[in-house]
């Protein structure tokens, strides 16, 4: 409210928006939240879990080796084996272990989908890394298991809606400075939720805004490229992509033996002093038009900026170093790293995960405030209260159940199972005459029970991992939440 005075440095200043404008912005904030809350919540929840993809992959496949270093000889051996095992036309991509992420992973892929994934042992042996649930989770986050263009657009639109909600949320909060340091628990449901909504929203604003922006860009990139191409390149999208990606060598399908990859890697490292190997990509392996690209990262950089390319004969065809790259290329490379928090090791992943869950709480509390306000005014919406309960607690439950399914039935279609569970839960909300709070409590306890069972069962079947411990602790917390603690 403009009437809202904040005193700072002895001077009173007013909120720049009039009370009526603040109310109008708040109204838009609410409308946007109601329209997008479900999908924002789903994208944030899956995003918070996707941050732990490296950990989840090794939880799913505990026998997969997790190396902390990989020699050139071992990397060369792994790539040569993969070239023989991969389907024709597949591109090979080896990611080295780094201080931020242990484990070497080799993928064979065609288009956007990985055909095969292996973990690489310290001697170069390949062990299949068939982490289906991690893949399911990643694709649910990136494109909601819809066709790439449509799913990406929808997720990008969600990012824009989140950005807009952040802006309108701050503009509609004239007491943002005065309230910033107060977290008041208890009181009415609406007041308690409002405090959580505002504190988590405001103090983690840089994080939320960064994730929303980078997520929106990643999701809308197809649209932006299409628009650029349509307007400036007569619809030829390849012309836009060629600005960022080196064009492939002229096609030559003659068979060609693989060069001595270990030697190439050693030469590549010599060509990029100060950088450590980050990844190797082999396009068209075993053909005369093969290209081997070795990427290196320097300690103070966020992303690899050294690139040495070899042709099929082992000759250096091109190389790039940080000083050769435009700012745009560097920024583009960093967007994915910043979005997923894969740049700083386990502590950064944990904080990303927690702040991602905080964004889920912000979203959920926004809807709870709206529902509580309606109830306070005598316009309760019990149907919507139940539906929100099955989204807020039903989605974690559905994801936990799909994880259990992936571990027990390796061939189960996870995306269809998730969709079935989601629709089933929404149907339950429609027919079960329970208050939303009670339904939410039941779902939370069901989720807690599934998490505890999952963690214990997994720990009993294989080596105990950190993920098992997190599942058991998290599940127990969900089961015990809200119960009064008895003094011993």
């Amino acid at each position: 409210m403009s009437g809202e005075r904040n005193t700072r440095s002895g001077k009173a200043w007013r909120w720049p928006l009039s009370p009526e404008t603040v109310r109008a912005v708040l109204s838009g904030h609410g409308a946007l939240g109601i329209a997008f809350a479900g999908v924002i919540y789903l994208v944030c929840l899956t995003g918070a879990l996707t941050v732990f993809t490296p950990d989840l992959q090794h939880w799913e496949v505990p026998r997969a080796p997790v190396v902390t270093t990989l020699s050139d000889a071992a990397a060369g051996r792994a790539l040569t084996q993969a070239a023989q095992a991969a389907p024709p036309g597949a591109t090979l991509s080896l990611t080295y272990p780094t201080p931020a992420k242990a484990g070497a992973v080799l993928m064979a892929y065609r288009g956007n989908r990985a055909d095969q994934t292996w973990a690489v042992a310290s001697d170069g042996t390949l062990v299949p890394l068939d982490a289906r649930w991690s893949d399911f989770l990643l694709h649910l986050h990136v494109n909601l298991h819809l066709p790439r263009a449509w799913g990406g657009f929808l997720v990008g639109l969600t990012g824009v809606a989140l950005l807009s909600s952040l802006v309108s949320g701050v503009l509609a909060h004239p007491r943002v400075v005065r309230d910033a340091f107060h977290l008041r628990l208890g009181g009415s449901r609406r007041l308690a939720q409002a405090d959580w909504h505002n504190r988590l929203g405001v103090w983690a604003l840089p994080f939320h805004a960064t994730l929303a922006l980078t997520g929106a860009l990643l999701g809308l990139s197809t649209l932006i490229v299409a628009a650029l191409a349509l307007l400036l390149y007569r619809g030829d999208r390849q012309q836009v992509y060629r600005l960022f990606i080196d064009p492939p060598p002229p096609a030559d399908a003659r068979a060609m033996p693989m060069p001595d990859l270990a030697t190439l890697l050693t030469r590549a490292h010599a060509a990029m002093p100060g950088a450590s190997p980050q990844s190797v990509v082999i396009e068209r392996p075993g053909r005369a038009d093969m290209r081997v690209s070795v990427h290196g990262i320097r300690p103070r950089n966020l992303v690899p900026q050294d690139d040495v390319q070899f042709d099929a004969t082992g000759r250096i065809a091109a190389q790039e170093h940080p000083q050769d790259l435009s700012t745009g290329i560097k920024v583009l490379g960093g967007i994915g790293q910043v979005h997923f928090g894969w740049f700083g090791g386990a502590p950064v992943r944990v904080v990303y995960g927690l702040l991602g869950l905080a964004l889920c709480v912000v979203t959920s509390s926004g809807i709870t405030i709206w529902l509580a306000r309606r109830r306070d005014r005598g316009r309760a919406a019990p149907g919507w209260e139940r539906i929100w309960a099955v989204i807020a607690w039903g989605q974690p439950l559905a994801l936990a159940l799909t994880a259990a399914l992936a571990l027990t039935r390796p061939d189960a279609p996870l995306a269809k199972a998730w969709l079935g569970l989601t629709l089933g839960l929404v149907a339950v909300a429609g027919v079960v005459p329970l208050p939303g709070l009670s339904l939410g409590r039941m779902l939370r306890q069901a989720m807690g029970a599934v998490l505890v069972t999952l963690g214990c069962a997994h720990a009993m079947l294989g080596p105990i991992t950190t993920v098992d411990a997190v599942l058991v602790i998290g599940g127990a917390a969900a089961l015990l939440w809200g119960r009064p603690l008895r003094k011993i």
Partner: protein, 153 residues
């Protein structure tokens, strides 16, 4: 000042972009931890009175009578029309900003969601829908035209 200082230190210590990303993340978490430490319990007995104090209550959303055509127009403004207007301005940035074309395209790509988000915020709050319609359509036509005149990035 403390937050800015910590960010600068992180940028100097581990690299400018990496340090900034790390500082933004850790500072959010640290600030929330501090807020959690200072939490208080509301007094239930005083609560209704506190809520009723004039000037202390949080603002309430503006209640407007729902009309279908206004709802549909608002969705169009915040959605497709806002998107096209944002895209038009972003394309102008891609074409007319100085510097390397790849940098211009990436910056315009980053600007597009921001501009669309701002358009969304504005159109959902503005009660003069026809004015918003005129501004967005005008921006789209002018932006796309000016960008097309500029040629390839």
């Amino acid at each position: 000042m403390v937050l800015i200082g910590a960010a600068v230190l992180a940028m100097l210590a581990i690299g400018p972009i990496k340090g900034l990303a790390l500082a933004a993340t850790m500072q959010s978490a640290g600030a929330l931890a501090v807020i959690w430490q200072g939490r208080v319990q509301r007094q239930p007995a005083r609560m209704p009175r506190a809520e009723a104090v004039v000037g202390d209550a949080a603002p309430e959303p503006l209640e407007q009578r729902a009309r279908l055509w206004r709802g549909v127009l608002r969705v169009l403004l915040a959605g497709p029309l806002g998107m096209v207007a944002a895209l038009a301005l972003a394309l102008c940035l891609a074409v007319y900003l100085p510097g390397d074309p790849r940098t211009r395209i990436v910056l315009s790509g980053l600007a597009m969601p921001v501009l669309w988000g701002l358009a969304m915020t504005w159109t959902l709050a503005d009660r003069r829908l026809l004015r918003a319609l005129a501004v967005l359509v005008g921006t789209s036509l002018l932006g796309l035209g000016i960008a097309a005149l500029g040629g390839a990035a």
